[in-house]
Amino acid sequence: MIRLFGSNEVLFILAGIQWTLLLSLIAFTGGGVFGLIIALSRTSTRASLRSIAAGYIDFFQGTPLLMQLFLVFYGMPVFGVKVSPWTAVTIGLTLHASAFLGEIWRGGIQAVPRGQTEAARALGLRYASRMRDIVLPQALRLSVAPTVGFLVQLIKGTSLASIVGFVELSRSAQIVASTTYKPLLAYGLAALLYFVICFPLSRFSLRLEQRFAAKT
């Protein structure tokens, strides 16, 4: 039975946004926490930590996000952990985000002049304080623009969650498209909604980039 493309359908697609946003938020927060660990490992003085972090980053940068989601969704049951699509995409996106954020922040950490760490060492500050008080505040400031840029990629990346059956913005559009036979309208609306979320963020990232470029 073909349904009409009415206000119910529009509301259904709109409801998908909340899942897209929630998924993005969790992946970004979780990815931020693990990403910081990755970035610190990647810049560690211990070679073993550096190479583990490098391998992790290489894997996630070298494979498509969709494959990463599949690996989590179909891989975890192999180890006896049955996961719902929601858990799978949350874990997958978090791992994905941590690798990319780790790499962005590694660059930020390494862009902080050597003299800063040397001065901190000379004052007797230990590693935790050197990082928290001196290096990270400067590194994160340098990384704000690419970090927001990645957030935009991540929000768009959540659309792949629809493929393992998780109903977010893209999946709701897909459902509406198949029941109303108005795919252009459904997907057009979804695209518009992605744009409304992502465009301001992109602009914001660009503004931050210009502000920090002007400062130095």
Binding site: P113, E118, A119, R121, A122, L123, S129, D133
Partner: protein, 262 residues
């Protein structure tokens, strides 16, 4: 020229180990196959002021950076206030807390105010509370005569002011030793004096100081001993009056000829 022992000659390398602040014993360092420090032996007494000069790449910065382990060394031993630097990471931390350092490029923390720059190490390393750390910071900012800049960020200050803040920041840890690594080399000429004056007043108070500098006027008036380094070794070490009047080594003479006649 023959080396003569005069009755007034200070013990050149032999302050008694009892009052020795810094002892280098046969310290050697390589960068790959390039030797940057060759068999360094040096004893610095408490309260002694030492100026280290030499051509660029001679190892003078490396020498003083070994004292707080910003540089590692391959062999030999360094004792700072009786603590063996090579023995453990704990020792390195203990030494760093007692040794202040001032860098050519200031290396102030740009995201912190002048005040915060000065408060950080006392709070984090000594565990001092905020209000006490503020008082300490203010005391030393007055000492370097810029208490009115306390709320500004480093980028808002002139080079000379920044370097004075860097000195104050180091002093806030009440160090026993101060290391200066070409502190005036990055400054505009008109700002050199304010930094040197600060260093001179510090010297007058009896601070143990090692300064890598080309300010020969400072060396003449403040140093107890001047060290000339070339190609990783201590070529010559003497009281400033004799060092400048009567350099014994040919390399010292040619170096002094170059920097004093321009």
């Amino acid at each position: 020229m023959i080396e003569l022992a005069t009755p007034f000659a200070p013990p050149r390398d032999t302050p008694s180990t009892a009052d020795a602040m810094i002892v280098f014993e046969n310290v050697e360092k390589w960068y790959g196959s390039f030797q940057v420090l060759k068999n360094i032996n040096l004893t610095v007494a408490k309260g002694e002021k030492i100026v280290v000069c030499g051509p660029s790449g001679s190892g003078k910065s490396t020498l003083i950076r070994c004292i707080n382990r910003l540089e590692e060394y391959r062999s030999g031993r360094i004792l700072v206030d009786g603590i063996d630097l090579g023995a453990s990471a704990k020792n390195v931390e203990a030494v760093r807390a007692e040794v202040g350092m001032v860098f050519q490029q200031f290396n102030l923390f740009p995201h912190l105010t002048v005040m915060q720059n000065c408060m950080l190490a006392p709070m984090r390393v000594r565990g001092i509370g905020t209000s006490e750390a503020e008082a300490i910071a203010m005391k030393y900012l007055k000492r370097v005569r810029i208490p009115e800049q306390a709320g500004k960020y480093p980028a808002q200050l002139s080079g000379g002011q920044q370097q004075r803040v860097a000195i104050a920041r180091a002093l806030c840890m009440t160090p026993k030793i101060m290391l200066f690594d070409e502190p005036t080399s990055a400054l505009d000429p008109e700002m050199v004096k304010e930094v040197l004056d600060t260093m001179i007043s510090l010297a007058e108070e009896g601070m143990t100081m090692l300064c890598v500098t080309h300010e020969m006027g400072f060396a003449r008036s403040v140093a107890d001993r001047v060290i000339f380094m070339d190609r990783g070794e201590i070529v010559e070490m003497d009281r400033p009056d004799r060092f400048f009047a009567n350099p014994r080594n040919e390399r010292t003479r040619s170096f002094l000829g170059q920097i004093l006649n321009h």
